[in-house]
Amino acid sequence: MSLLDVRDLSVVFQRKGERPFTAVDEVSFSVEPGQTVGLVGESGCGKSVTSLAIMGLLPKRGNKVTGEVNFDGADLLKLRPEDLRDRRGRDIGMIFQDPLSSLNPVIPIGTQVAEVLERHRGMDRKVALKEARELLDAVGIPDPTRRLKEYPHQISGGMRQRALIAIALACKPRLLIADEPTTALDVTIQAQILTLLKQLVDETGTALIMITHDLGVVAGLCDTVNVLYGGKIVERAARHDLFARPRHPYTHGLLNSVPRLDSPRGERLHAIRGSVADNIPWAEGCAFAPRCDNVVDACLDGPPPLEPTANGGDLRCNNPVSEEVAVP
């Protein structure tokens, strides 16, 4: 059985006097124990909302979440809030994008790590702080004893993200959700954090959902990749297949737009034309159709179904990129 099985998850935002907006549209995917799964897409494709919906962290009002989030034999969406609260931080950890704003500015780092241990593992403050020191050490924070008493503004961005990772992994969760964990960091620090995540995930056997817009992150980390567009999964493939033979024109465009060091000087960068603002509603056709080079009549004739591919993935496209077309 999968560790996490998301079935037809939809999130509709509904504000008074405004048209409802479907941020996540019948998304299904699963995560096996110890596996690393990528959710990839550009801003606004619904990847963060998906993760917040899994954690039950969406605002209580103004949205409607449907579908199933089966984790460890229970549907998280149906759990009582207190029961979900017991699981958050214990069974599922989460790392956020901006490490400075994600840490409480007026509480020492040590307390912020210790409180999750006190909550879920019943430790008293003293024992928890000792454990917190070990955790900070394990995520590569130098001089952890001193850091325990320091505040977020006193340590570097990379260390803050390491502290957040320590918090998320403190109770040895079986699933870790990382929502763009490197976006706010310097490039050199990004690599360190990714290496650390990979190492910790390998050591602890924690499954990881990696949410990112950065294909480089996916290439280095993920076993399976789900590409989201306009709230729907448009392509799912094993990492190797996705990079070698992207089938959806959107995935293809994404890979194509990664600048390469070995391309001839003066060559223009590739970009997917248009922007998310050009999307059409899925009910009317493929949301990507207005930006797609492969568009055919059928694309404007209702949403294309998500269909299995020959190499075990899934694809939502009427006219996929031919398997022979290699990425330059």
């Binding site: 958050r88 956020f96 909550r119 879920h120 503004h153």
Partner: protein, 335 residues
Amino acid sequence: MLRVIVRRLLQLVVTLIGLSALVFVWLRNLPGGPIEALLGERATPERRALLVKALGYDQPILVQYAKFMQRLVTGDFGNSIRSGDPVTEVIGRAFPATVELAAAAMIIAIGLGVPLGYLAARHRGRLLDNLSIGGTLLGISIPIFFLGYLLKDVFTQNMHLFPPSGRISTGMDNTDVTGFFVLDGLLTREFDATGDALWHLILPAVTLATIPLAVVVRITRASVLDVLNEDFVRTAEAKGLRHKTIRGRHILRNALLPVVTTIGLQTGALLSGAVLTERVYNWGGLGTLIYDSISGGRDYPVLQALILLAALVFVVVNLLVDLSYAFIDPRVRVR
């Protein structure tokens, strides 16, 4: 930290000296004065001249000010013109009454205001929030003297729940230790006196508390709303922490800074509210003293000392507020 405190106290001294000069000149240029008040309007010029000379008001104002400052250094504020008692004694009698009233008002304002503001923010846009917005608007706009007489009328005249005026029942045999009647009762184990003093305290304190209460609710609500949108609150939720922990450690602790500032300013401003409240409830404190010293013939020495005292209280309270920042927010700690 110590250097900050010392620097602020030195600033305070400079402020007070400047203020004393201003007040000195300003008071003596007000129409009316102690001479008229003491002798009446039909006194002969000779008698007036005699009194003016006796009080030293015939000398140039600079000389008067110099003499005033000279005595001030030794802690001598002169004598009240009205009663002849030393100013320090007159103020010393009234001071505890007002502090007791102000403290009770602030306890009400903070004790009710912070939880109410938090709840309003948490129920944003719903009934409780709308009630708090309406209620605070009313609290800020209603004139204190009107509210005072209204409460007095309803609760003493009609319902006979509270005493109409004074700090303690006549005939209550209480021992005066500190001048704070509630505290005195506890210290001397005269609990009936404490009860009686509290009973007298409730209506005036509620009256005086309305404005600070409304302001504290508003500021707490706005501040909590800001913090609720912060990423670290989401992190705290993602940790699965209990409501209690998230509320206290993560939301309120961060939302408190603007609230503390407000509390400081409101405490400093309480004296102006106390003048009206004390009049309504015949509360023998500084407010009454200010009123009597102005209306009863410009009691210059008492007024000077009162204004300087008010400034002193204001500055000290705000110094305490600034210092408390350091405890609440490590980012403003002086390194």
